[in-house]
Assembly symmetry: none
Homo-oligomer: 221 residues x 2
DNA sequence: TTATTTTGTTTAATATATCAAACAACGAGT
DNA sequence: ACTCGTTGTTTGATATATTAAACAAAATAA
């Protein structure tokens, strides 16, 4: 006698991973995980796998969603790219949101302490100093920097960088930070937190050195 | 005879309800989640807000994405429902995935800058001060703290060590940090990076205040 | 076997999205 | 007042998605 265990797993951001909470792997569960995790899969493939998990026929899914079975067939073959309106109607039949449908997925180590002089310098060190906490190797989930900007020091415009988040605290001096369409001048104790996909720029607008400790995730080095 | 067992975990991000279609007849929860989802912003509104954050004109976005400005205009007005192919091309210009675009919990700029006095205090503030950068709400991927330890200030042994990583830079004073079976005394400019599953403890062993900026992931608050 | 149902696919007509270009509204200069 | 450039919108033509219905293959039943 076989037993299927279904788990509605908490989704962190766009994260979805059934397998981790499964105490017992069943073929259908693996199919669910696969269908939802693989970001490279086409819309058609995802929809087909999703439908088969529910054991729906194309016609039954058509009836439940209000979309024609022929359309569903062509979508699954990637012969057409459905409008989001149609796709939403189809996903409603599963009680699945667009965000969930498109969602992608989401270790003790050697060194713990790092002396100030040993921090790896990532910038030129003159007008701009970015000293990295921790090694560049390994499977790390964030990057912490000890930054120093000389007067006039400027990162320049960082256009369309990678996905992630960035935050920090100003220790000393003043810095002008531009993020997206907002900007502000921060002093000692002030802080920031933003999505690093937004174009951002740091510039020392004061007369003294500016010092910042920052963190960003994921590490991009 | 086989049997189905459903385990419903809370959903962190968006609503996820397999049960709706498989139970075939209990619309209670599903109705709520669907209403919540429908109340969310339309595709057009989301795209317009997203574009304005990047300060792109419709024509510039058109150039970057390979979709016509007229189409973008009509999408933003919800006059048409774009195909996922077109929408994907547009989102590629932002480096944003479909999953992220449709996830209900990203809001344009929830706040980027935080004044020193506005940082949320997580500790008592006397012998130990932990001031958090950024809001406690939302779906964040890391936590950045501005920490201050009075002489003798001590975090005590961390009892519940969650999975994640932790790193920081000592700004001022000296602190003794114990991680696993190692320990060291760090001064200004020194730093640390460790797996937060290891038991860890911070203690100010100097005569002056000690100041640290730290980051950990994932946030546990 | 043959007939019947069910499944997925395809076809032709229709509806809609997308494009290329024109339009109107708003500002910044002369 | 202007022009000139830019922004968002709209229009007519074309490309594509969606439909309704027909088609083909496989399973079921007699």
């Amino acid at each position: 006698m076989s037993r299927l265990i279904w788990i509605l797993h908490p989704v962190f951001d766009a994260d979805f991973d059934f397998a981790r909470t499964l105490n017992r792997g069943t073929p259908s569960m693996a199919a669910v995980t696969k269908a939802k995790r693989d970001a490279s899969k086409s819309v058609g493939t995802r929809l087909r796998e999703l439908r088969q998990i529910y054991a729906f026929t194309q016609r039954e899914l058509a009836r439940r969603s209000g979309v024609t079975n022929g359309t569903i067939s062509m979508i699954e073959q990637d012969a057409i790219s459905p409008s989001v309106a149609s796709l939403k109607k189809i996903l409603d039949a599963f009680g699945l949101s667009l965000g969930e449908f498109f969602s992608d997925n989401w270790q003790p180590d050697a060194g713990v302490f790092f002396r100030a002089k040993d921090l790896k310098e990532l910038a030129d060190g003159e007008s701009l100093s970015l000293r990295q906490v921790g090694p560049s190797t390994g499977n790390r989930k964030m990057q912490v920097l000890h930054e120093r900007y000389a007067p006039g020091g400027d990162t320049g415009e960082a256009m369309l960088s990678h996905a992630g988040e960035e935050a920090g605290v100003v220790i000393r001096g003043t810095v002008e930070i531009a993020v997206g369409n907002t900007r502000d001048v921060l002093g000692p104790g002030d802080a920031y937190y933003f999505d690093s996909r937004l174009p951002h720029r740091f510039r020392n607008v004061g007369d003294d050195d500016c010092e910042i400790v920052s963190a960003c995730t994921p590490p991009t080095f």
